[in-house]
Symmetry: C2
Subunit: 291 residues, 2 copies
């Protein structure tokens, strides 16, 4: 229903307005983008008032965004779009026989300037009474040869037990629960962190408004963020999720994949930590550049 | 191509996350919205980097918007979305036998506080040397009975010959080329204005960036904005376009309809104006409210 009562040429005319000097990729993207947005509007008989509510929401997202917060990104996250483009971007690599470790969304709380932490060090600057200290460690290997890779930088960040990342929380020191660890000559790394806890995404902006309209909760399952970088290997952005979390099946930003669920196990004989997490990773060589 | 290499349940899972207390209309909208956005991303193999460019563009639109500028709206306008939702909203009324005057988009430059102008007065506060003064007048009638309607308020606004609306231009007085005129006991109105001239939409923000990426010009054909209001009649938001304009066929915001194209004719014997524009309108009664 619906489409045929409207000017049948309108959408094609908008697409055809694209000039000859638009790049091939821009052309490839703009046609389907316009077609899907127009089809959506016709399919639901979107009114001027409803559209204007959407415009206000988008403007509000921008107005809330700054160096520490990306609300436009969070709006995409709650409708699954970041997780989907992550899947699209890494689909080919993930399905290859020499697949690297599975990826997950970056999320809005990454910072480029996390401190370097010595191997075996800790990212906990502000211990908390209800925090379960965990020793996370593992080995990073080449996905094809299984050889260990020294010199991989693992950039990690997590929220504290109050559900806040340090940049959201004036009570936490700068870069608390954030650090970069480098694998040693055996490809091994290890650091102390907190067993992560579930938390809500910020719900005081348009993403929160959308969640309320959709009668959805804002909770994310407990997770630790990781980014690996190494000159010769493809970078990996991922998150790992605690297997005992009650939000694994209904993450508010749809980032969980089975292969990213990990077990935190009891650790004995270590006076710094009561849990252990072994997490090994596989990285894939960058394609050889032909000069 | 494309869709089947990705998790086939992902999009439905996102839609199904909607809770039982979402309103019926929210449910009606959110499913197609998520489906079309996801289908678009899969269809073009949208990458994380490309998506992030889009996020930055949306945040930028919000950051540029304020009381005087609505960049989120302008972004929608250049991809035809405002014009489309205008058509959708008024399609039923426009196709009825007692159709009212055709509608067009509001655009981002409307102000709620235009001054009241006496019938036969002028909206020109700042005469310009290259301005062609026009006497615009006409009759407003009931679309069913053809009876004249007294007391209709016609809110009008237009850009000056430099292509700028008064709120964009420190050289223009507050509310220059903006006013509200009331139809008299015969349903007639008349006021002096400038023959409108083509102008570019603001291209210093994301809408301009999109136009450049698409190799499109930012020009709008010359037009005058009108909104009619009357307690007993449905309000009309429209624009009328000068028949001699070279951008009629490629308006950057796709607002032109044939029935909105008007002729500015030479006017003799009037020492205030050299052009005349006769523009009659038909309004449709509000549906009777059953209490």
């Amino acid at each position: 229903m619906g489409a045929d009562k409207f000017d049948p040429n309108f959408t094609q005319n908008v697409i055809d307005a694209t000039g000859p000097n638009a790049s091939a990729r821009t052309r490839e993207i703009i046609g389907p983008l316009i077609r899907h947005i127009h089809d959506f509007a016709r399919e639901v008989n979107l009114t001027v008032d409803e559209w204007m509510e959407g415009v206000n929401l988008i403007n509000w997202a921008g107005q809330m965004s700054d160096d520490r917060r990306n609300e436009g990104q969070l709006v995409c996250d709650v409708i699954g779009l970041e997780s989907l483009v992550d899947e699209i971007t890494f689909a080919a690599a993930a399905n290859a026989p020499d697949a690297h470790t599975a990826t997950a969304i970056l999320g809005p709380f990454f910072r480029h300037d996390a401190p370097m932490i010595p191997n075996g060090g800790t990212i906990i600057k502000n211990p908390v009474a209800d925090g379960i200290v965990t020793y996370m460690h593992g080995k990073v290997v080449d996905s094809l040869t299984a050889e260990p890779i020294p010199g991989v930088i693992i950039d990690t960040w997590e929220a504290s037990t109050n559900g806040l990342y340090e940049q959201q929380d004036p009570e936490q020191d700068d870069c608390n629960l954030r650090g970069r660890i480098t694998t040693d000559e055996n490809g091994e790394y290890g650091f102390y962190c907190l067993k992560p806890t579930p938390y809500p995404v910020p719900d005081d902006g348009p993403a929160g408004k959308i969640l309320k309209m959709l009668d959805r909760h804002p909770m994310r399952p407990a997770h630790i963020h990781l980014i690996t970088t190494h000159d010769e290997y493809m970078p990996i952005t991922t998150q790992i999720f605690s297997s005992d979390d009650k939000y694994l099946k209904n993450d508010s930003v749809f980032a969980v994949k089975d292969s990213l669920i990990v077990d935190f196990t009891p650790l004995e004989g270590n006076d710094k930590a009561t849990r252990e997490l072994v997490y090994n990773m596989k990285l894939k060589k960058q394609p050889v550049k032909t000069a």
